[in-house]
């Protein structure tokens, strides 16, 4: 059976896996974005808190994903929970770092001006600082998403959802006639999803970054 025949015979299963893969990544990205921006907002004003946040998140990233999921299984069990936790943790770093860099990069004279015309601290954050820091944050989100696409495949190890199942099944049955097809279909599926997400981010950027600061 060649690759195309394999695809056409299994397309329903593949589409379902792809959808689950995308949905897992998307949901984890939403959580990671909210958490990451929140951590950035809380820590960027202080030198050491900001550095601590960046250091912690980058430490998490150095833990191999397979090991992290393996460590999570005894605590939260199999399936969706370890996947979500692992993906969210991994997704944090680029967002936290870019949020801190972006917020710290806002021209201090603009913050001064915002204060000077009587904006409250919240107004300053939501109307001036976050909109100006948004382009780097969005870049962080994009990088995170690309990364999570790959890491999500590992989730299949903990019986998580997604295209990783396809790959693991292929690896498990190496030597059988469909093994290569399975690995290839899973991998290509992830690549295609990643490209689609990236295109979506370009669109989101167009819609959410003010024309006045777009490069």
């Amino acid at each position: 059976m060649n690759f195309w025949d394999y695809l056409s015979s299994r397309h329903e299963q593949l589409l379902a896996d792809a959808f689950q893969h995308a949905s897992a990544v998307f949901q984890c990205m939403v959580i990671a974005t909210l958490l990451g921006v929140l951590i950035g907002v809380v820590t960027y004003r202080s030198e050491w808190a900001g550095n601590l946040a960046t250091l912690t998140t980058s430490t998490i990233l150095t833990v191999p994903s397979l090991a992290l999921i393996g460590l999570l299984i005894p605590i939260v069990g199999l399936g969706v929970p370890p996947t979500v936790i692992a993906l969210t943790l991994y997704g944090l770093l680029p967002i936290v770092r870019n949020a801190i860099v972006g917020l710290r990069g806002v021209d201090p004279s603009l913050v001064d001006a915002a204060k000077g015309i009587g904006m409250s601290r919240t107004a300053r954050l939501f109307k001036v600082e976050l909109p100006l820091a948004w382009p780097p944050i969005l870049t962080g989100i994009r990088v995170s998403t690309q990364m999570l696409m790959g890491i999500a495949a590992i989730a299949a190890y903990a019986s998580g959802p997604g295209l990783g199942n396809e790959i693991f099944r292929g690896i498990g049955s190496l030597g059988s006639k469909n093994a290569l097809n399975q690995v290839l279909a899973g991998t290509l599926g992830i690549v295609v999803l990643a490209l689609l997400f990236d295109a979506a981010y370009v669109l989101v950027g167009r819609l959410t970054i003010s024309r006045g600061i777009r490069v």
């Binding site: 009587g118 904006m119 100006l132 003010s210 006045g212």
Partner: protein, 424 residues
């Protein structure tokens, strides 16, 4: 457009400036023994444009920022319009005090209109009122609302950005406007324009403006009164530009005024304040013979030739016509420079020096000839001005001495009265 606004916001139109009183205002940063600003006392009248000028690091900016409490004072009181604002919610205070800074401080992700609308929006104006106000403000600072309304700051020149910055600061019609070296980052020509604009604006609005600069010439040009500050914001002198130029309080002030106080004094007087002389003129339509006769009989050896619309055209000397063989087109020297009645004496001097004739033609609103100013007039007026300033200064000192004498006198009398009461 501006008419609709006038009806929409009649109360705002009438508000003018408020007084600002600083009482023992002090800023001490933790960890440093000397205060950054040491006990500043100052009274600024309503509708007055006061300049803080001083070397960098003298605390002038810090003092300004304490007025809207961007920097919290560590001691002393601030009163605006008689109301003590030292302990008021700073966010509320700042909405009543306009603030314009160097490099405009416009938010790059908002359009010009959104930037200007910020403060009115925060204090809860209705949408149509805000919209009218934005148009009105753009009009006020000399930008076409239709064209600039939807632009982003980066699509504007430095001077335009600064104008929008001023429009934003004035949008909610605050009685007080604080300006922190607002024209420091623009080129000299634009800066000159912006200064003229500010003078015009202030003529219309009568806000109380506190303006920080390190440029003494800017201070002289703009200020009703100038506070020359030295280190720790000590007031070296707080007086009118004329008084500071002619009678600097001490070496620090005269050092800051710099050389050429007499020349700078010329900036403070306008051509309309000095004698504008009549001068024999002819027009290009006059017959040649008449021009010849006038040149020959005239008391001066030069005539001013006016063009068809009565504007100065050429200086004609005796013999010029002969040399040009009777052709007006070739005879005489073209008029390079003219001044209006609103020009400063400095401009006039500049023009006199460059004109070959040693005098400059003064023109009216449409460029028509109204008279001339020459070197002699300028010199006489400057002498008179300086003399007058000196007399004023002496009188001022006398007044001060009298006051002091009276105070001591009263104090002694008061003591005396106390004694008698005690005795009875």
């Amino acid at each position: 457009m501006s008419e609709t606004t006038t009806t929409a916001a009649p109360s705002e139109k009438q508000t003018t400036g408020a007084t600002i009183e600083l009482e023992n205002l002090t800023k001490r940063y933790p960890g440093s023994s000397d205060p950054a600003v040491d006990s500043v006392n100052m009274e600024i009248k309503a509708g007055e444009l006061v300049i803080f000028v001083g070397p960098s690091g003298c605390g002038k900016s810090t003092t300004l920022k304490m007025i809207n409490r961007l920097i919290e004072p560590t001691g002393g009181r601030i009163r605006i319009g008689g109301e003590d604002v030292t302990d008021m919610d700073p966010v509320k205070l700042r909405r009543k005090v306009g603030y314009a800074i160097q490099s405009s401080g416009l938010f790059p992700h908002m359009t010009v209109a959104q930037n200007i609308a910020l403060v009115p929006k925060m204090i809860g104006w209705s949408k149509p009122k805000i919209k009218d106000r934005v148009e009105e403000m753009l009009d006020l600072v000399g930008l076409d609302p239709g064209e600039f309304h939807g632009r982003y700051p980066r699509q504007l020149s430095g001077g335009q950005q600064q104008r929008v910055g001023v429009a934003r600061a004035l949008a909610a019609d605050p009685p007080v406007l604080l300006m922190d070296e607002p024209f420091g980052a623009v080129d000299p020509i634009t800066r000159d324009h912006l200064q003229d604009e500010l003078i015009r604006l202030q003529h219309e609005l009568h806000k109380t403006i506190v303006f920080v600069t390190h440029d003494f010439d800017e201070a002289i040009k703009l200020g009703d009164r100038i506070a020359v500050l030295r280190e720790r914001s000590h007031i070296a002198q707080f007086d009118t530009p004329e008084a500071i130029l002619t009678n600097p309080a001490d070496d620090f002030v005269s050092g800051f005024v710099g050389a050429g106080a007499a020349l700078k004094r010329l900036n403070l007087t306008r051509v309309r304040d000095v004698e504008i002389r009549d001068y024999p003129t002819v027009t290009v339509d006059d017959p040649l013979q008449e021009i010849f006769n006038k040149l020959r009989d005239g008391t001066t050896n030069e005539l001013l030739l006016l063009d068809k619309r009565g504007r100065p055209y050429k200086w004609l000397r005796r013999g010029d016509l002969m040399r040009a063989r009777g052709s007006l087109a070739r005879a005489g020297a073209l008029v390079h420079d003219t001044v209006t009645r609103d020009a400063t004496l400095r401009d006039a001097l500049e023009a006199v020096l460059t004109e070959s004739a040693g005098r400059v033609a003064v023109t009216g609103r449409r460029g028509e000839y109204t008279g001339v100013v020459d070197m002699e007039t300028l010199m006489n007026s400057v002498h008179e001005l300086l003399e007058q300033d000196r007399l004023d200064a002496i009188e001022h000192q006398h007044d001060l001495q009298d006051q002091r004498a009276e105070q001591t006198h009263r104090a002694q009398e008061g003591e005396g009265a106390g004694f008698t009461e005690d005795a009875s």
